[in-house]
Symmetry: C2
Subunit: 671 residues, 2 copies
């Protein structure tokens, strides 16, 4: 097929093909055809990122007889890379190998510019690796006494010559490093360029490592993921308690602290920034990465966390009209947050959406991208408030529902955060009312052999949100809790776990130390919380004009612990096929990682946040009505047809059924 | 002339005119006609900057009968301003006064947007006040629970509504101030916007003061001028010794210190930054301005000062190829220089031109603007090196000549810097060789009554550059120094001030304590310095292809002390009409002030610096030849026709004449 002058080159997997003069470097052929091959060193056999593999064989369909020999022999540069382990055996450097005959060339995923990081369980999408910062190796012209051009201007000239980069700006601390880097690197340096236009770092010689950290600043815990910005790999992850907890367990108590103490907001800002610093140091040292080599930081958090981290006053968020300081993304030097990374490192905080719908929700949205689907997604991030996003390709709505802290185990007798020792799963025998349960930290159920031992010294410490939900749902299914939420004293004839209090009854879940009891007040707290959550979702569905959603994603720690069936038994969430209800795990943190690894995602979320319809539940009369209606527990398979396939719901008891309360609500309104 | 519906309005001095519906505010009429009237408050009767005066009279030429009554009566807002002294009696606020009949309106200079600051002596031009930062008073919409728009976004909306400003970015510390400012100012704030697009500061309520500092970082002294960026006025000026002097008297000794001491550059950077901080504090406290209210800083300095101030390594400037770190202007947060002003204050350093031609020369250029003239200007900034700029509208050239420190009084017996106590002026009687002199700090000549007393306790301390120049020139004109620079021992018969040394002679200028003697070596040092200066100027003239320059401006302290005639007698500068040779005083500092007060001047100097032709004297054989030729003292009225009108130059003596040496030089080259 080849003739004296040109040869046929076919690239896979793209299938792009063309004829090139013999001697054409493979990288050049690829570029001319628009085939995606990565390079940091600009074709100098330094970075080893442009590896390809020539295939042996007669490909009739492509009309080509290909041979690895058609790329000629390996030169010195390739041999060197091979010996140093930078070049895989059988691979060639496309910047060095030249076309000497017809050849079919396979470009492995690792050599493609925009690699995908394959998603983990719970994650909705793969992430395309295209961070806001890229590395460029460059040869800089040496100074010439007759041309008084500065080091910086010669660097810019080199970047234009080698990479066609023009109109670049620069960080001052890069300029301060430049003189030494040029001389140490013998006029060869690697620069990091942010956003395609700003030189933010310089190192002598060739370099191909670049790091960033994605951070989820939760009210309770702060989690960090240190990523290699070139491979997209998570190199290390760490979590730490948010030290602001000593100023208040939940968000509103922290806002009160700021209101009551002139230095309060400043103290909390200092505390969270120190924690983030320590967390990054810890993560970096685990991955054996110098924090000075970290150039990018992305952060998510609810509005109060967002404001406190930024040193903004959170108190306007505590009272109507709940005014944010800014609802745009914030992109600032990390040093402004007193976070010690590379001097030019920047921190990108995803935008807050409304006074109660924060950058964490923006992160969840970015992880879930409901705007890519025709199907209608309902995404719920359960915390002290529940942030709710509803929508699809056509339309997006967001709201926050004031669930209170019950789902986080607070203000529940025996309640605690989801942490080792907490009862997270509960099953109650519908006849005997005997419970069995699972505890965080153990894989065993309480009725399995070795359960006690598996808990270690800590034993059982309390019950977390998912545990209380499942316990109440189990009691409801067993008839021990009625549709109006009353613990039915009549079931005491079936078990001695039902105990009489002053005017109400309790259920003893755990009779050894510590004694864990579900009291009537706990059921009420969960009813309030689930009614708020349901009413919020329902309000958004009303606004969107839909009666059903196609899928439900539950984000946050709560969402990852709960069995979704029990959430539906309690009427927390609207009806949906149970196999379309799933956990999105820490979707907010995933969103931070998406923003870290993919530059275009930032513009995407900023655009979506501007157009999403924000619904304020606090002032909406429909929300109040839905809330009142949703206080009871579902008794009707009519309201939950999907659930009917899985469990049998109790018949209406003597207490108020949801339908009853709805009727009463309506009639009250008519009066 | 007026009818029921409209009235004629004529503005002076612009002469712009138009008919407007009765009731039209004067400011609106002005804007529609494109008449330049200032406003910070946007027409809210707050800033008092839009004052105008309605004129009484029948103006036949303009065809208008005008009356102040045709602007109606003063409203409450104007009365209030009048009482508070914000409105001059007889003036009206153009934002409040409405057109009620034909009227001729005078816009005083103080109400025009682009006021001129009238130049001082020595300054080449008026400065148009249009700084890089402007103030805007704005009413910000209040938060609304149904529209979760951030404080920042509502500020941006207010700026768009009130000022048609769009696409604005913002400094993070502004965001941190914004919440409080909005609430303290009851949703009215004043913002400072830099470069037309970046919000850098916010204050509650109305504000009309804005400050900046222009700084000239000289090797010997640092001078600061604190300016009101709205009026352009210099509020206070201060100077201080450069504390780097303890690391080395002249530039090259400081570069050596940095080469020999690993921490040397850092020590000098710290020293100069502390000095700048202290100087600004001092200047601000004199003007009773809070340093936190200073938002802009402009700086000039030679390349070594520029690099040390920026924390850049100056050592490449000490050896060929004399590579600058950057030859562009540097515009960075002032905090990067550890200078404590407003947190968003920025520092603008004018560009360096070449390794020996610094931002100080750029400042001189900006003060002098030789590119505005058809005439050819020669601008010389004399220091340890002489920076020379030659050119006009068509073409500009720059070079640095290695004059050495003689012009600064260094390496001269009895020499010192131009400071109180230094002999700065010298006249020598051509017959008796008796000197008379003037000393810095006194207005009297040494032969006037009360001279001794006028010096105070300090007395005479030494002789500075201008003094030594004038002394040698005087001796030359008296025949005591020959054309080849030899002190002629034969003149000892005329005076006992000529003393014999080992093989040469000296002239005793000051016989009391301290004894100040002009030695043969001093004459040699001045010959070397003046030959370098002349050769540099001559080289540029060769390159430009001109034999004469139209005007000469001498910048720097030296230029302000010397009588230019004596500079020409010694052959320091090329021939030029003596009344076209003048001092530009501290033109570098003036340039910094121009860049501070006028935004467009920055782009101008950046553009000029890019296109100016840089000539490197160190490697130019023509320079070497000119240098050798210029070692002698001028003897020929042919070479200095302008001088011939003023003094009679000595006839050629027995030593080498310039013409002789030029001939010898040429023959050497031919060999």
């Amino acid at each position: 097929m080849s003739n004296d002058k040109t040869a046929l080159v076919v690239f896979s997997p793209s299938g792009k093909r063309g004829r090139f003069p013999l001697g054409t470097p493979v990288l050049q052929a690829a570029r001319e055809l628009g085939v995606d091959i990565d390079s940091i060193c600009g074709g100098r056999a330094r970075c080893g990122r442009c590896q390809v593999e020539a295939v042996e064989g007669n490909f009739a369909k492509e009309n080509i007889i290909s041979s690895p020999d058609h790329l000629g022999g390996m030169g010195e540069a390739e041999q060197y890379c091979l010996q140093r382990g930078r070049l895989k055996p059988g691979h060639r450097l496309s910047c060095q190998a030249a076309v000497e005959g017809d050849v079919r060339i396979d470009v492995p995923a690792s050599s493609q510019v925009h690699q995908q990081v394959v998603r983990k369980d719970h994650e909705a999408h793969d992430i395309e690796i295209d961070p806001v910062i890229h590395l460029y190796f460059v040869e800089v012209p040496q100074p010439d006494i007759n041309v008084p051009e500065g080091d910086l201007q010669r660097l810019l000239r080199g970047l234009e010559t080698d990479w066609s980069l023009t109109g670049l700006s620069w960080e001052f601390s890069m300029l301060q490093e430049l003189q030494q880097a040029l001389r140490d690197g013998k006029w060869q340096v690697t620069v990091a360029i942010r956003d395609g236009h700003r030189i933010v770092a310089v190192w002598p010689g060739f370099r191909d490592r670049l790091f960033g950290v994605a951070i989820d600043v939760g009210s309770t815990t702060i989690a960090a993921h240190l990523c290699d910005l070139i491979s997209g790999e998570v190199l290390a992850s760490s979590g730490v308690m948010n030290p602001q907890i000593r100023f208040g367990e939940d968000l509103m108590s922290r806002v009160s602290y700021a209101m009551l103490n002139p230095e309060g907001a400043g103290q909390m800002t200092g505390a969270v920034r120190r924690a983030v610093n320590d967390l990054i140091s810890d993560t970096a040292s685990r991955a054996e990465v110098d924090t000075g080599a970290i150039l990018e930081l992305t952060l998510v958090g609810n509005p109060v966390m967002h404001h406190l981290l930024l040193g903004l006053d959170p108190t306007p968020l505590g009272v109507a009209p709940f005014a944010l300081a800014t609802d745009q993304a914030v992109d600032i030097p990390a040093s402004e947050l007193a976070i010690e990374l590379h001097p030019c490192a920047r921190a990108y905080l995803l935008p807050c959406i409304a006074g109660h719908v924060g950058a964490d929700t923006a992160g969840v949205m970015l992880a879930e991208t409901p705007w890519c689907e025709d199907e209608i997604s309902l995404i719920i991030d359960v915390g002290t408030n529940a942030e709710i996003v509803l929508g699809n390709r056509e339309r997006l709505l967001a709201a926050s529902s004031p669930t209170g802290p019950a789902f986080e185990g607070a203000q529940i007798s025996g309640g605690q955060r989801a942490a080792p020792g907490a009862i997270e799963r509960v099953r109650i025998d519908p006849e005997t009312l005997e419970p069995r349960f699972r505890v965080i930290g153990s894989e065993l159920w309480s009725d399995q052999p070795g359960f006690r031992e598996s808990l270690g010294e800590q034993g059982v410490t309390g019950i977390c949100g998912s545990g209380i939900i499942e316990a109440i749902a189990g009691l409801y299914l067993a008839g021990a809790v009625l549709a109006d939420g009353v613990i039915d004293g009549r079931t005491a004839d079936r078990t001695n776990r039902i105990e009489a209090d002053e005017r109400t009854f309790s259920y003893v879940l755990h009779d050894s130390e510590p004694r864990i009891v579900i009291q009537q007040g706990d059921v009420r707290a969960v009813q309030l919380a689930k009614a708020a959550l349901y009413a919020g979702a329902r309000l958004l569905m009303d606004r969107m004009g839909v009666e059903r959603v196609d899928r439900i994603r539950l984000a946050g720690a709560f969402g990852s612990h709960i069995d979704v069936k029990y959430a539906m038994v309690l009427g927390m969430i609207p009806d949906c096929d149970l196999d379309r209800v799933s956990s999105a795990n820490n979707a907010a943190g995933t969103g931070a990682r998406v923003a870290l690894l993919n530059r275009a995602s930032r513009a995407e979320i900023e655009r979506r946040v501007r157009t999403i319809e924000k619904v304020e539940t606090a002032v909406d009369p429909t929300f109040q009505q839905h809330f009142v209606d949703a206080m009871g527990l579902p008794h009707s398979t009519h309201a939950y047809p999907s659930l009917a396939r899985v469990v049998e719901l109790p018949r209406p008891g003597p207490g108020a059924s949801p339908r009853d309360s709805r009727r009463r609500g309506r009639s009250r309104r008519r009066r």
